[in-house]
């Protein structure tokens, strides 16, 4: 049969329409290679593992802290992950919703990074050096102690009691911190001394 111009024109057009289906049918789809299946890279690889104890409640779950860098080796160490210690008899690797999120507390946006002072009546904190802060504190302690130390009571009994400065200790600090705090506070004669065990 004779195929005239217009028929060739027709074929050009029709071709486009068909292409899709037929190409697909010929399995051209596979030409579009998908990214091969893969799991996320294990993020604890090449980190330093350190054994610690959860800072929250007194179940004292064993935890493992993973960091980039090793403090023990004197390096700068950035904590990247915290999870339960499977070897620990009490928690056996488990953690509660607080413990499981410990890392976010370590890196909290409200972590303090420098000493600050709020002057009387001021509406903001300002930076202060450690030295200046500690000297101010020491001076305030001595001045108050020298002024208000009670050496004897009315009956003339030696009481060596200092009631006008108080100290609240933290139940989340270590025994070692507690002991050093105890020595310091008692040696000065402070009696207004307490910790969270009271509440």
């Amino acid at each position: 049969m004779n195929i005239d111009l217009s028929r060739r024109g027709f074929m050009k057009l029709a071709g486009a329409g068909v292409a899709a289906t037929s190409l697909g049918a010929m399995g051209f789809g596979e030409a579009e290679a998908a990214e091969a299946a893969h799991v996320r890279a294990f993020k604890l690889a090449s980190t330093t593992e350190v054994r610690n104890t959860c800072t929250y409640c007194s179940v004292a779950c064993g935890i493992l802290i993973y960091s980039k860098g090793d403090v023990a080796a004197g390096e700068k160490a950035e904590i990247v992950h915290i999870e339960g210690d499977a070897d620990h008899p009490t928690n056996r690797g488990t953690l509660c919703p607080k413990g499981a999120a410990l890392k976010d507390t370590v890196h909290a946006q409200t972590r303090l990074t420098e000493p600050r002072i709020r002057r009387p009546g001021a509406d903001r904190f300002e930076s202060i050096s450690w030295d200046e802060a500690l000297d101010k504190i020491a001076r305030a302690l001595k001045d108050d102690r020298d002024t208000n130390m009670i050496l004897q009571n009315d009956a003339g009994v030696t009481v060596n009691r200092w009631t006008t400065t108080g100290f609240l200790a933290a139940s989340a600090t270590t025994n070692e911190t507690a002991w050093l705090t105890y020595k310091t506070v008692r040696a000065m004669g402070i009696v207004g001394f307490d910790n969270q065990a009271r509440v």
């Binding site: 217009s6 057009l13 029709a14 899709a20 697909g24 399995g27 789809g29 579009e32």
Partner: protein
């Protein structure tokens, strides 16, 4: 005697007399048609890509799956609006008329191209009217179901069960509209002399005489009655 048009619309007129050419679509309408056509093709290709794995490679035409995913619905809206304008221009002459029934009953003659056995017709025959109304209905269905499964902007619009129905309806409607689209394109090509109506905007007198004689008569008649036109 009245001047009311029955088989033609304002703008249709005899352009030249020897040989006779008849203006069928003004420039605006043609542009409108091609915008619609273009978006339909884009939708067709992007839609098919997400419809069947074997066609996923078509996403490459648009720069990957993510682009295809966001592009498709926007083009869908474009098509909807563009077709809406077209619809407003064409709907009146696509209303069914008694002779359409006769035409459909002689569908065999239509396919054999023996039009002398058919009644005289206005601007559109029943086939064209079917395509017009079919497209209109399906586009409404597609835009409706499409929005329901438009994850990026309407994830919560309908419940998941409804969404499942929507996605099924959308794909069924898509298949249907593609079939109609093929019919439309093919008919336009098979019926020689038709394409120029949407390219140049005119058809030959013979074409008009053969396919839409009532339309031609009305236009011819109007020539003498109100030359002002």
């Amino acid at each position: 005697m009245m001047a009311r048009r029955i088989y033609s619309q304002s703008g249709d007129h005899i352009e030249t007399t020897a040989p006779v050419t008849v203006s069928r679509y003004r420039g605006f309408t043609r542009a409108n048609h091609w915008v619609t056509a273009a978006s339909l093709i884009v939708l067709l290709l992007s839609g098919m890509a997400l419809f069947h794995p074997s066609l996923y490679f078509l996403t490459a035409l648009f720069g990957g799956g993510q682009v295809t995913r966001w592009l498709h619905p926007f083009v869908g809206i474009l098509l909807f609006l563009s077709f809406l304008i077209l619809f407003l221009q064409l709907w009146r002459l696509n209303l069914p008329r008694p002779e359409d029934a006769t035409w459909v009953s002689h569908i065999g003659d239509v396919v054999r191209g023996e039009e002398e056995k058919l009644p005289e017709l206005g601007k559109y025959n029943a086939g064209q009217k079917f395509i017009f109304w079919g497209m209109s209905a399906l586009i409404v269905v597609l835009i409706g179901s499409g929005v329901m499964i438009w994850e990026q902007y309407f994830p919560q619009l309908v419940s998941i069960p409804v969404r499942r129905v929507a996605v099924l309806v959308h794909s069924l409607a898509a298949v249907a509209i593609i079939l109609i689209f093929i019919l439309h394109v093919y008919a336009a090509i098979w019926t020689r002399g038709t394409l120029r109506a949407m390219t140049r905007g005119t058809v030959t007198g013979g074409w008009a005489w053969r396919h839409h004689r009532k339309w031609l008569r009305e236009l011819a008649g109007r020539e003498k009655r109100d030359p002002a036109e």
